[in-house]
């Protein structure tokens, strides 16, 4: 992928759990079946309460989101171990989530699947950035620029090459940790 990404952002608050990212009723979809993977994307973030989030993340009837960057508060992705959560976001077209902090299993699933980059922010961005703002994420400088203001992010470190490769299996093959596919 290119080293910068410019996109409108979608902003959520603290403690967005996996039920809000992909409600349990859609877990019947199996992510490794291509058409079900696409469908998971259409339901990304559909569990957010309508009164707090009047703007839909994925437009009604659509499969993809216009927001390739999600900004969130503390503890993003808490709750279930369902890998459907980062996959739903990735399938919808999200490339990065910038949050105050992440829940452990969600973070790990982002890296394992290579679906999206989980960036830790250095300051609370979800209070100063609004849904629809245009942001530029620089993956080399580890910064997010919105309305001419540049915010530094915590570097992704050793997880970046894994996500760049497309997940742990590709990474492990590229680096010779496991055998190449027959």
């Amino acid at each position: 992928m290119s080293h910068t990404l410019t996109s409108p952002v979608y902003v959520c608050a603290d403690n967005i759990d996996t039920d809000q990212i992909i409600p349990a009723q859609y877990l019947t979809l199996v992510p490794t079946i291509p058409e079900e993977y696409e469908k998971l994307g259409s339901y990304a973030l559909i569990g957010l309460p309508d009164d707090l989030y009047p703007t839909r993340f994925v437009p009604e009837g659509g499969l993809k989101t216009p927001y390739k960057i999600v900004i969130a508060g503390r503890n993003f992705g808490c709750g279930s171990s369902r890998e459907h959560a980062p996959i739903a976001l990735g399938a919808a077209g999200v490339e990065a989530v910038v949050a105050d902090s992440f829940a452990r299993i969600f973070f790990r699933n982002c890296v394992a699947t290579g679906e999206l980059y989980p960036y830790d922010a250095n300051e609370r961005l979800c209070d100063v950035i609004k849904t629809g703002d245009i942001a530029t994420l620089d993956f080399d400088a580890d910064t997010l620029t919105v309305h001419g203001k540049t915010y530094s992010l915590k570097p992704l470190g050793e997880v970046r090459p894994v996500i760049d490769a497309g997940g742990i299996f590709n990474y492990a093959r590229n680096t010779g940790m496991i055998a190449a596919k027959a």
Partner: protein, 456 residues
């Protein structure tokens, strides 16, 4: 080293590990279920090839339990995907809902939601099945594609939840690269007072540290208060480590642990050797706090997350629409017995649903007689809608026809473990987490109620 460090050191072939180290561990047991199993199998086949074999059939346990008793055709299909894989791989530990290994599962709507619809192998909720069927052993490493896999920390083992991709990797290799977590110690003194249950202990602690207070960490439980608890109590506490963001829960091993495990491995013919890890003098904790169990009171976690702690007695102004008892955390036999003790001879005031965690719980509630009446019948006489179809059911919402699911906005008090918006179905609903005692007392009054009003 802490107990978690000792297990991870052993599993990675090292004499010592420290928090922050990344280590490859050998996996003793991998568990998956109907929601994440099909995706895990998909990853396994995609990455290791269509003809690939799992690393060790005896170490794979497959437990359909989430979306079983539903007419949703995708859910029924997902159970069939598991059965097909089990057959192809020759896996010995599969607790199928039907007996025919060549059959297809289809829920029969005409029989209704409450009447038994499973064969002789079906068990119910995975985390409660694992110990019952002899798959939990001290000193071992268990991974499961479910966040509440941490429940097995009650048995002095390292147990944690993972995603499909990691599980697919384990299926092919039997190994996983993990980071050694920092450990927090929760030291329990004293004993719980009447009306207080293990659920109150964990809700109190999560309220104390915050519901992300243990993120990336091991929660190690110690002290005389812990040894006073039975295995069910320890399971309830370990189960909810994830509700504080914890990677795993860890209990020391004592005679109760050993007796429990020995009895079940013998009964099921599963691997019987194990080596517990013992407490060291030189443990390093990032957090260390003493709790006096005798000071705890019935506790509730309010909407919208498990860290919103209040005392039940402060909440008598909160009216409820529904009460629910069930799940890995709150659907064990001991949970239902506590519930029945409160509602016996009385009538619930609000819609109340009971879903046993396992088929064994169903049997035990039918077999246990109080004054010539079975506990099952005592619960039904009190107006509790009991189902014989043990499963995860409405704890996590599920398909819309799931028994007990919150299909409209309502306030529900529940013996389950998680209450984020939409967890039990409708996303405008509010869920209050509490002990089986508190859920029972609240079902009787229609308001959040301190159960000590009903317990002498």
């Amino acid at each position: 080293m802490t107990l978690t460090e000792k297990i991870l050191a052993r599993a990675s072939g090292k004499t010592r590990v420290a928090a922050g180290d990344n280590v490859w561990v050998n996996v003793d047991v991998l568990m998956t279920h109907d929601v994440c199993g099909p995706g895990t199998i998909g990853v396994f086949k995609r990455e290791f090839g269509k003809a690939a074999k799992v690393w060790d059939p005896k170490r794979v346990v497959i437990i359909p339990d989430h979306y079983i008793f539903t007419a949703d055709s995708m859910s029924n299909r997902n159970v069939d995907i598991l059965r097909e894989f089990v057959k192809e791989q020759g896996l010995p530990y599969f607790y199928d809902v039907i007996d025919d290994p060549d059959g297809h599962w289809q829920f029969d709507v005409s029989k209704g939601q409450t009447q038994k619809q499973y064969g002789s192998k079906y068990t119910g909720v995975c985390h409660t099945t694992l110990p019952w069927k002899g798959h939990t052993r001290p000193g071992e490493i268990l991974f499961g594609t479910d966040s509440h896999t941490c429940m097995a920390g009650a048995f002095n083992q390292f147990a944690t939840g993972i995603g499909n991709t990691d599980a697919g990797f384990i299926l092919g290799t039997g190994k996983l690269l993990i980071k050694v977590p920092e450990s927090m110690r929760f030291f329990m003194e004293g004993a719980m007072q009447p009306g207080v249950m293990a659920k109150d202990v964990i809700l109190h602690v999560i309220g104390d540290i915050g519901f992300d207070g243990a993120t990336y960490r091991a929660m190690q439980w110690e002290g005389p208060g812990v040894y006073g608890m039975n295995m069910d109590d320890r399971m309830t506490i370990a189960n909810m480590a994830i509700e504080a963001g914890g990677k795993n829960a860890m209990f020391p091993c004592d005679q109760k642990t050993i007796d429990y495990v020995n009895e079940r491995t013998a009964e099921n013919g599963t691997k019987s050797e194990f080596e517990p890890v013992e407490l060291d003098g030189d443990q390093k904790f990032i957090y260390d706090k003493v709790f006096d169990l005798s000071k705890l009171e019935p506790t509730v976690a309010c909407h919208p997350d498990p860290g919103q702690r209040k005392l039940a007695k402060e909440m008598s102004n909160v009216s409820l629409d529904r009460a629910y008892i069930g799940s890995c955390t709150g659907g064990k036999t001991s949970d239902f017995l506590a519930f029945a003790q409160v509602v016996k001879g009385k009538t619930v005031k609000i819609d109340t649903f009971g879903v046993p965690a396992t088929t064994k719980v169903v049997q035990e509630l039918k077999d246990t007689q109080w004054d010539g009446q079975s506990v099952w019948s005592i619960l039904e006489s009190a107006g509790v809608r009991m189902t014989e179809n043990a499963s995860c059911a409405a704890c996590l919402g599920g398909p819309v026809d799931t028994f007990g699911r919150l299909n409209t906005p309502m306030k529900c008090i529940s013996a389950t473990n998680r209450n984020f918006p939409g967890r039990m179905g409708n996303k405008e609903s509010q869920v209050f987490l509490a002990s089986p005692y508190t859920v029972a007392a609240s079902a009787l009054t229609g308001k959040v109620t301190d159960p000590r009003e009903f317990i002498s």
